[in-house]
């Protein structure tokens, strides 16, 4: 008998759980979905929180979707949201090509979509808000080249293959670096992940013990690189490290002298702006003055650290 109770208890819990979660989202005027490539990436984890908080203030319900770095999963999530008839979508596409059909499907269903941070190659989206990745990477490249006086070995750790920030950051960085024949460039993908960066950099150091600078496509890989430098007995500043995107840990690394520069793209502002554009359109049918909006990136160093979005948090 007791076994039977356990089983019925389990089933009842399952049923109750699903009813409970459904009742939480009932009876709200506007519901939007926010879909990001990987929620366990702190950059997107924070972005989602920013959207949730800003939306809450306006009484807007947010459905959070995690693609788990899988374009097919993100497409499937979008399909589900079309059936769910959400009022709008904030999308950070996992891949700039693979998500084009998703954006087109949303357009067909007359659901407005704003892409933030990452972009799709084409398609009928309402707006894009993002950093200027090419410009940011150029700033990083010039900074490194100046510090090295145009001579040395530079490692570039790439973000996730096929994602727009990785492509644009590589483009900007390598464009500037190609002007310096004295700089030897070692390029490897580390997928925006700290653990991947550790492995990749350790392997690179096996073959090239004397590297002079490291540029990483995001802050997670930058922190992974610093971790390796520390464990290999390097001194702070011995190898110049420049990363994209700031957060609490990177600001600390700048103050400690491990990170020389950090490209600030103001992601909080990006996502808030994206939400504002989306809600303006849903509530009042107002389209933004321009479709593609790029915020100017800023190089954060020890000197101007207070200008970072996350300073003092």
């Amino acid at each position: 008998m007791s076994k039977r109770c356990v089983v019925f208890g389990l089933v009842a819990t399952m049923v109750a759980g699903m009813f409970l979660t459904s009742s939480l989202v009932a009876a709200k005027a506007i519901t939007i979905a926010v879909s990001v490539p990987r929620l366990s990436n702190p950059f997107f984890g924070r972005a989602v929180k920013v959207v949730q908080e800003a939306a809450k203030q306006q009484g807007v319900e947010v459905i959070v979707l995690d693609a788990g770095d899988d374009s097919a999963k993100q497409l499937a999530d979008i399909e589900t949201m079309i059936i769910r008839k959400v009022d709008g979508v904030i999308l950070a596409p996992n891949d700039q090509e693979a998500l084009v059909p998703g954006v087109e499907k949303l357009a067909k269903a007359k659901i407005p979509v704003v892409t933030v941070d990452r972009q799709v190659a084409r398609g009928d989206y309402l707006a894009h808000v993002g950093g200027n990745n090419v410009a940011g990477a150029k700033i990083a490249a010039s900074f490194i080249a100046d510090k090295l006086n145009g001579q040395g070995t530079v490692v570039e750790l790439l973000g996730q293959p096929g994602s727009s920030p990785a492509l644009q950051r590589a483009k900007g960085f390598e464009e500037v670096m190609s002007k310096y024949p004295g700089i030897k460039l070692i390029v490897q993908p580390a997928n925006f992940r700290r653990s991947d960066a550790v492995t990749v950099l350790e392997n690179i150091l096996q073959a090239n013990p004397n590297i002079d600078a490291i540029f990483t496509h995001n802050e997670e890989m930058g922190l992974g690189a610093i971790q390796v430098l520390k464990s290999r007995g390097f001194k702070p500043g011995q190898v110049i490290v420049v990363a994209f995107d700031t957060h609490k840990e990177t600001l600390q690394a700048i103050e400690d002298g491990w990170l020389q520069g950090n490209i600030e793209q103001f992601p909080d502002q990006q996502f808030r702006t994206g939400l504002k554009i989306l809600l303006n359109y849903i509530k009042a049918g107002v389209k933004p003055p321009q479709r593609d909006n790029y915020l100017t990136p800023l190089l954060i160093t020890k000197e101007n650290i207070t200008q970072s979005e996350k300073y003092g948090e």
């Binding site: 009813f19 097919a72 891949d95």
Partner: protein
């Protein structure tokens, strides 16, 4: 408890099996409903979940949602068909996710023969499209053959051998793609990614077709009996004259081909070869097989139960998204439902 034949009958294809087992129950007399449930408990769990889902989300039972759900299930579904063959025959295959990746990338690579130059969409196919498709499937078979030979001939445990190929094959996928994605497969295959046959998406038709054919092979052919025999008791199978080694190798080849088929269809869906595709597919496939009632120690189970297992896993994600549950608690719920399903099955099985 150990009855390979009965376990084999469990959950393959709906009606003839149900009819056969129903007559068996009547002979045994009392407690008939519980015996019926025991045989089909995975279907019961599935129906229960469908009813709950329809309750919590009015959008769930719309045809568009069902078609989407089936398509989302079809890729993992195809991988799981192959996984069922391997697990029934007493093995395990961890390399299927990597095979999904390498086949998708190879497909795109063969369409951009002579080097992929950035984001140019112009194709330079290495050979006619049907041959490209066949080569991709052959690559999956090759991975399977390697697994099979390592396991059956070199006597390396299946877990270790396929773990090794999982890692290496993923590396091949990255190398072929040059560390990026290969975009653009051209028009000829877009029907596989976006087309419909009647009301059903193409990959769903392919998946269901494979489930039916595999179910028939497992239940109604001598070959199928042998699969169960090898997984159930290898020594007896060998003594009764079955070439167990050759059989095992063949099972891994089958798994490789199914994984390659899934990888190809996924690549068509996202119109590119992506070396990271199919990560953790092996775990989803194993979960589906287990939920579907196939024994991890081999010799029992069927593809029908596995298909329902895949549908259960996909349904959970689908309905939790429809309802708007945050992705992190979703994973917890998913784990609990997997456990709940298996407990329910075990409990029903112990009631005879």
């Amino acid at each position: 408890m150990r009855d390979g034949g009965e376990g084999g009958v469990n959950g393959a294809k709906g009606e003839p099996v149900a009819a056969a087992s129903a007559s068996g129950i009547r002979l045994r007399g009392s407690n008939t409903w519980i015996n019926g449930l025991r045989r089909n408990s995975v279907y019961l769990v599935f129906i229960l979940l469908v009813i709950i889902s329809a309750q919590v989300s009015p959008a769930f039972l719309t045809w568009t949602n069902i078609a989407n759900l089936l398509r989302q299930a079809s890729y993992i579904g195809l991988v799981s068909v192959g996984m069922t063959f391997v697990i029934i025959s007493g093995g395990i295959d961890l390399s299927v996710g990597s095979t999904v990746a390498v086949s998708g990338v190879l497909l795109a690579y063969l369409f951009h023969w002579g080097g992929y130059k950035g984001y140019v969409v112009t194709l330079s196919p290495a050979m006619p499209t049907p041959l490209i498709v066949l080569s991709t499937l052959a690559a999956g078979a090759l991975v399977g053959l390697l697994n099979g030979v390592l396991i059956a001939k070199a006597r390396i445990p299946a877990f270790v051998a396929t773990l090794a190929t999982m890692v290496s094959v993923r590396g091949v996928a990255y190398m072929l793609a040059g560390g990026r994605t290969i975009f653009g497969l051209g028009e000829s295959l877009s029907v596989l990614g976006f087309g419909n046959i009647g009301p059903l998406p193409v990959p769903v038709v392919i998946w269901l077709g494979c489930v039916l054919v595999s179910g028939f092979i497992l239940k109604r052919t001598v070959f199928g009996r042998w699969v169960y025999a090898v997984g159930g008791d290898e020594d007896s199978a060998r003594l009764s004259g079955i070439n167990c080694d050759r059989h095992k190798v063949l099972m891994y080849v089958v798994a490789g081909v199914f994984a390659a088929l899934a990888g190809m269809l996924m690549a068509c869906r996202i119109d590119q070869g992506e070396p990271r595709q199919g990560e953790l597919f092996e775990l989803d496939a194993i979960a589906a097989v287990v939920i579907g009632g196939t024994s991890l120690s081999g010799g029992r189970g069927g593809v029908g139960g596995t298909a329902i297992g895949v549908l259960i896993l996909t349904l959970i994600t689908n309905v939790l998204n429809l309802v708007g549950v945050h992705p992190f608690p979703q994973q917890i719920v998913k784990g609990i439902i997997i456990l709940g399903g298996v407990f329910l099955q075990r409990w029903l099985a112990s009631r005879n």
